[in-house]
Amino acid sequence: MQIYLPIAEISVNAFLLLGLGGIVGILSGMFGVGGGFLMTPLLFFIGIPPAVAVATEANQIVASSFSGVLAHFKRKTVDLRMGTVLLIGGLVGAALGVVVFNYLKAQGQVDLLVKLCYVIFLGVIGGLMFIESLNAIRKTSKGTVPKRKKHNWIHGLPFKMRFRVSGLYISVIPPIIVGVLVGILAAIMGVGGGFIMVPAMIYLLGMPTKVVVGTSLFQIIFVTAFTTMLHATTNFTVDIVLAVLLLVGGVFGAQIGTRIGVKMKAEQLRILLAIMVLAVCGKLAFDLLVMPSDVFSIAAGGH
């Protein structure tokens, strides 16, 4: 069934979009990532103009994250206090990121920088996670209990706060810094930042994997809602028909994903996320290294 999208000005297969939304929704519920870093390239691939894809994707992530977070609320796996602290940092970071983005745009080559950013971050994060969770799986199969809570310099910082759900009593400075950094990256790369936030929460803040997913989704809702409004009012690139098609699949996928995620072991969850992150990284690196099918590309508008 073909449907014409009013803003993207292209006709697409409705079932294809429902399916794509569903798959990305499952991943979103399982891992606490928004899925923007997967969906946006897929939308490019089926011919949606990049500006519309990025903006509409933000709107779809609001829906699937909201659906996912409700499922996590029911299981009490959302740390609202931590989420709020991260969000404050995130919004500050996003504002800074927009400034950085505009500066880079003026210099040209912003596309390349975004792609390099992706490759480097995805590669490093994915690689580290993969090694860590592989080690964790090996240890548990040997029977030794993994020691997760370590006392390090982070615990010496002031402004301590108790995060009951995460079982942490740490300073608010590290979460705020993590929030700011993720916010900057999210704004530059045009994604919710879940795939950076999740590993940061696990490894830098030492939060339990189960809580991380719900908390990440909680803060993604606000970041992407903000992004949607920004795109809708300044670039007019949010395609509501496309969003509806994607989010119908997405919200159901998120519910299913949450249920799969809860049943899985933390290490398995982490290693799957690591593989996914590395796969996307590999694809992007491949595109940069291999000669494109056409060295010319067309962009609408002059300058």
Binding site: M1, Q2, I3, Y4, P6, I7, E9, I10, S11, G47, N59, Q60, V62, A63, S64, S65, F66, S67, G68, L70, A71, K74, Q109, D111, L112, A225, T228, M229, H231, A232, T233, F236, V238, I240, V241, A243, V244, L247, V248, V251, F252, A254, Q255, R259, D287, L288, L289, V290, M291, P292, D294, V295, F296, S297, I298, A299, A300, G301, G302, H303
Partner: protein, 251 residues
């Protein structure tokens, strides 16, 4: 006085001795939610006062062009092992859609001078005033846009696509793709003999979004804040709805 004018017109007439009378299967294309491309049948007849002239037969060229816009064409090159955009050329005017249908191979029915004058063939329909001095072989950029758009059926060259009957009746069918931009689609008909245009006629096909498409498009431009909030409300409602359904059925 009037007599002189009439006499003058009569004298001038032989230049347009053959004229086009045109019909369109539709002069309006409505983009609805289920829009998936559209065929437009263009047909017509040649009206003439005198008998058919001797010599080369009458040929017909039909062009349909969508709204023009400026585009930037970029070229990648390998630098430090990765593919990077290195230069760009701005094309001032490139139609979003362009189809040329002819009754015989284009080179046979139209000479270069006339092509330049009426901007009929695809490369002539694209206007590029000047490439930056730094860019060599700017023509490659124009060729690139033609190649890329031809691949996606946005640019079509339909040689022998027009059928002409007894040098009088002609018809062709132009397929408008599903990815169609709104606007006025200028339709031109040229009658040629031995490569020279002897008569031309212009009309337009109106391509418009209607119904829900129109409403959403207008809203996104004119009340963008409300549109953004509506998008968010739908997202939140859908997220909550899915969660509620799963809860009710205890999945």
């Amino acid at each position: 006085m009037l007599r002189y004018i009439i006499a003058f017109i009569m004298l001038a007439l032989p230049a347009v001795a053959e004229e086009v009378v045109l019909g369109l299967s539709k002069d309006e294309v409505a983009i609805t939610t289920s829009f998936d491309g559209s065929d437009v049948l263009i047909f017509g007849a040649v009206k003439r006062e005198a008998p058919i002239p001797d010599g080369d037969p009458l040929e017909v060229i039909i062009t349909v062009s969508g709204p023009s816009e400026s585009v930037t064409v970029r070229r990648k090159e390998k630098r430090f092992g990765i593919w990077v955009n290195i230069d760009a050329v701005e094309i001032d005017e490139a139609p979003s859609f362009y189809a040329v249908a002819t009754s015989a191979p284009l080179r046979d029915v139209l000479n270069d001078v006339e092509d330049l004058r009426y901007k009929i063939s695809v490369p002539r329909a694209i206007r590029s005033v000047g490439a930056p001095m730094a860019v060599q072989d700017a023509a490659a950029f124009t060729q690139a846009i033609i190649r890329i758009r031809t691949k996606s059926d946005a640019y079509q060259l339909l040689e022998n696509g027009v059928s002409v009957d007894a040098q009088t009746l002609f018809q062709t069918s132009i397929q408008l793709p599903a990815a169609l931009t709104e606007g006025e689609y200028k339709t031109r008909i040229f009658l040629t003999r031995s490569g020279k245009v002897i008569s031309d006629y212009e009309t337009s096909i109106d391509v418009r979004k209607i119904g829900l498409e129109r409403w959403l498009f207008t809203m996104s431009r004119e009340s963008s804040l409300l549109y953004g909030l509506m998008s968010l409300a739908i997202a939140i409602a859908a997220g909550w709805g899915a969660s509620a359904i799963f809860r009710v059925f205890r999945l």
